[in-house]
């Protein structure tokens, strides 16, 4: 067992799946010779050859479409978007082709479309949270891990899943030293559709995912230190399908709910979670549900503006205290 970063965990998952299943292959821009924009697939082409690690043209629609076709012919393609912002160019293939195949004619489309998302100083076109475009489309699973171990476990699960899976990797986590941990061994595979409690507590639950898990944990620690309240942090991990059972269990246990996401506010996942809680567990609430999200603007380039755009730990602490005092 080895210790690794979030990025190394992803690399290990790809490597092991490719070794264990010859149907698995990679396609994307600059992933072979160059080893990927983030060097995630460095050494892969040397190891597996250009037939299984394919440098594609700059054509996201072509990449996703070809992945669909290869999957229909029995392969297990893993397509990389160099930055998830560029998935917009492949939107049609994913939402109209891949997502509707099984419903229309019962054929599974086991593809993974993965890549770096989230804000880390890249400006309006290298920072976006793209999940909601796809969560709203029935037929696509959406996964976003927050820890290195989960990155490995869930990417393996995504590759083995018979559905199209959008796998979102927050680029700010890739090399974060704090996320280095012991990685699960080869035989372990995660399960899609299950949330995880990252910190237990029963005074308030923060429902969150991706990089915001870590800011939420920081906020929870601060509240424990300064206010003595115990905040539960629920990491969704899979955003579609969502783990309603874990969410409702948390609502029943904590009675106060704060939802935190890096995505913009309007039509962000918080709205959907709120509606589900209203439908399934309203009577357990002691306070209105609140959310801390990014602002409804493009992601700005300047670092001070980006910081103002993103949810910050003090924002989470403030909202949590508002709920605890409610």
């Amino acid at each position: 067992m080895a210790v690794g970063t979030f990025l190394e965990a992803l690399r290990e998952a790809l490597l092991e799946e490719m070794e264990d299943d010859e149907r698995v292959f990679l396609l994307g821009e600059d992933i072979a010779t160059y080893g990927g924009a983030f060097k995630l697939t460095q050494g892969f082409v040397e190891r597996f050859g250009p037939g299984r690690v394919i440098d594609t043209p700059i054509a996201e629609g072509g990449i996703i479409g070809a992945a669909i076709g290869a999957a229909l012919m029995g392969l297990r393609p893993v397509a990389e978007m160099q930055f998830l912002d560029f998935i917009s160019c492949g939107f049609d293939q994913l939402t109209n082709f891949a997502a509707k195949v099984h419903y229309r004619w019962g054929q599974p489309v086991p593809i993974v479309v993965r890549g770096p998302g989230g804000a880390a100083g890249g400006g309006p076109f290298h920072s976006q949270s793209v999940e909601m475009y796809f969560i709203k489309t029935p037929g696509i699973k959406v996964v976003e891990p927050s820890t290195a171990a989960d990155a490995k476990l869930l990417l393996k699960a995504a590759i083995r899943d018979p559905n199209p899976v959008l796998f979102i990797e927050h680029k700010g986590l890739y090399r974060a030293p704090a996320l280095r941990e012991e990685l699960p061994d080869r035989a372990a595979v995660g399960e899609l559709g299950r949330a995880a409690i990252r910190r237990d507590g029963s005074d308030l639950v923060i429902i969150t995912y991706g990089a915001m898990v870590h800011k939420s944990l920081e906020a929870a620690e601060q509240i424990a230190r300064e206010d003595g309240a115990q905040v539960r942090v629920l990491d969704l991990r899979t955003l579609q399908p969502m783990d309603d059972a874990a969410i409702m269990e948390a609502v029943r246990a904590c009675a106060r709910v704060l939802i935190v996401h890096e995505d913009t506010r309007t039509a962000g996942l918080a709205g959907e979670i709120t509606a589900r809680i209203n439908e399934q567990a309203f009577e357990w609430l002691d306070a209105p549900i609140r959310r801390v999200t990014a602002l409804d603007t493009p992601v700005p380039y300047n670092k001070n503006l980006e910081a103002a755009f993103l949810p910050q730990v003090p924002d989470i602490v403030r909202a949590a205290r508002g709920l605890l005092d409610y």
């Binding site: 821009e29 600059d30 072979a32 010779t33 160059y34 080893g35 924009a37 440098d55 594609t56 043209p57 700059i58 054509a59 629609g61 072509g62 160099q82 930055f83 912002d85 560029f86 917009s88 160019c89 400006g123 309006p124 076109f125 290298h126 602002l295 409804d296 603007t297 493009p298 700005p300 380039y301 300047n302 670092k303 001070n304 503006l305 910081a307 103002a308 755009f309």
Partner: protein, 360 residues
């Protein structure tokens, strides 16, 4: 011009004219009679202004590299070695025309008269730039520059649309953009070219074929010939030596004339080479993508060295006249960069304004 060993490609640092390459440069100028006539009509002032544009573009990039080295910025996307494609094209346009430069064509911004300070400030994210720190891509319609987005290819249909507006209003204006060789794979480029072709818009699209896309040789994903594209799209086609500013200039003049006469869009394939990295961070890796002979070949075709030599040898321009231009441009760039840096940490956008301006 002066060379900068700390910042320039080795082939440029020790650059000396090669007689055979210079002969080919000169031959190119007379290979096509129509282009030869355009070039022949250039007076000394026009020639020196092309030189000035090339030098400004190069010194701008060198300055950005200096900033990277000093830690002012983390990386920069450069057009060094490919300046002629941008400068030659812009010099052929009129003030009322519009251009849509990719980041590698940043020289188009200053060619069109945008203040250098703004171009530098955009990188710094300060309020000295039109984007007020919201994006590093810049343009300004006041100067006829439409800024790109990161998504490559997306400018092509947009610029075709600018051209369509000119056609609809019967204005003798043209819209110009550049797409990299790699970016021709996008749906957007294809759709944009089809739109331009279908609407007979006064649109000029360069395919800036620098033989590489990010970290992958062009040959790895395209074995066709870009020169075949114009015919396939029903557009007028031209091929230019992208390292010969006069060839680019002359072809663009002829293309723009066609456009203004209502003869429809033109696709110009410019052959050039990316001497550096995709950006400053991967220059070393980029050197491993091609054998050293390729760098030697294209290094000898430095668009500035070749043109400078031609100006002196074929046009009798005194080297002192060229160094005077260089000194002037250098001083202006130094001043602009200094001014831009002085805004760092000072003229920063106010975080309280972050939510403003989403809506018009």
């Amino acid at each position: 011009m002066k060379r900068y060993p700390a910042y320039e490609f080795p082939e440029y640092v020790d650059w000396r004219p090669d007689p055979a390459v210079q002969q080919a440069f000169a031959d190119r100028l007379v290979a096509d009679p129509a282009r030869a006539a355009v070039i022949g009509a250039l007076d000394r002032e026009a020639l020196l202004s092309l030189y000035e544009g090339l030098v400004r573009a190069r010194l701008h990039d060198i300055h950005l590299k200096r900033w990277v080295k000093q830690g002012v910025i983390t990386k920069a996307w450069l057009g060094a070695g490919e300046e002629a494609v941008t400068v030659g094209a812009c010099a052929a346009l009129r003030p009322e025309d519009v251009v849509g430069p990719m980041i590698r064509n940043a020289a188009a911004c200053f060619q069109r008269g945008m203040p250098m300070v703004e171009c530098f400030a955009a990188y710094l994210g300060t309020t000295d730039a039109i984007t007020q720190g919201r994006d590093l891509h810049i343009g300004d319609l006041e100067f006829g520059v439409v800024p790109p987005i990161s998504h490559v290819g997306d400018l092509v249909p947009v610029m075709a649309g600018c051209a369509l507006a000119f056609r609809l209003r019967g204005e003798p204006r043209v819209a110009v953009t550049w797409t990299g060789d790699g970016s021709t794979a996008t749906g957007a480029v294809h759709e944009g070219l089809r739109m331009a072709s279908a609407t007979r818009a006064p649109f000029i699209c360069f395919v800036q074929n620098n033989l590489v896309a990010l970290g992958t040789r062009g040959q790895a994903h395209f074995t066709g010939d870009f020169a075949d594209l114009p015919a396939a799209y029903g557009m007028t086609g031209m091929v230019v030596d992208g390292n010969n500013v006069l060839d680019v200039y002359a072809a663009t003049v002829l293309a723009a004339e066609r456009c203004r006469r209502g003869e429809g869009p033109v696709l110009i394939v410019a052959q050039t080479f990316r001497m550096g990295g995709h950006a400053t961070h991967d220059e070393r890796e980029a050197r491993e993508l091609f054998p050293p002979e390729v760098f030697a070949h294209w290094g000898q075709r430095d668009p500035i060295g070749c043109f400078e030599t031609w100006l002196v040898e074929a046009r009798g321009v005194a080297p002192e006249a060229l160094s005077a231009i260089e000194a002037r441009v250098d001083a202006a760039i130094e001043a602009a960069a200094r001014e831009a840096v002085s805004g760092k940490g000072v003229r920063e956008p106010d975080p309280a304004t972050v939510a403003q301006g989403v809506w018009a």
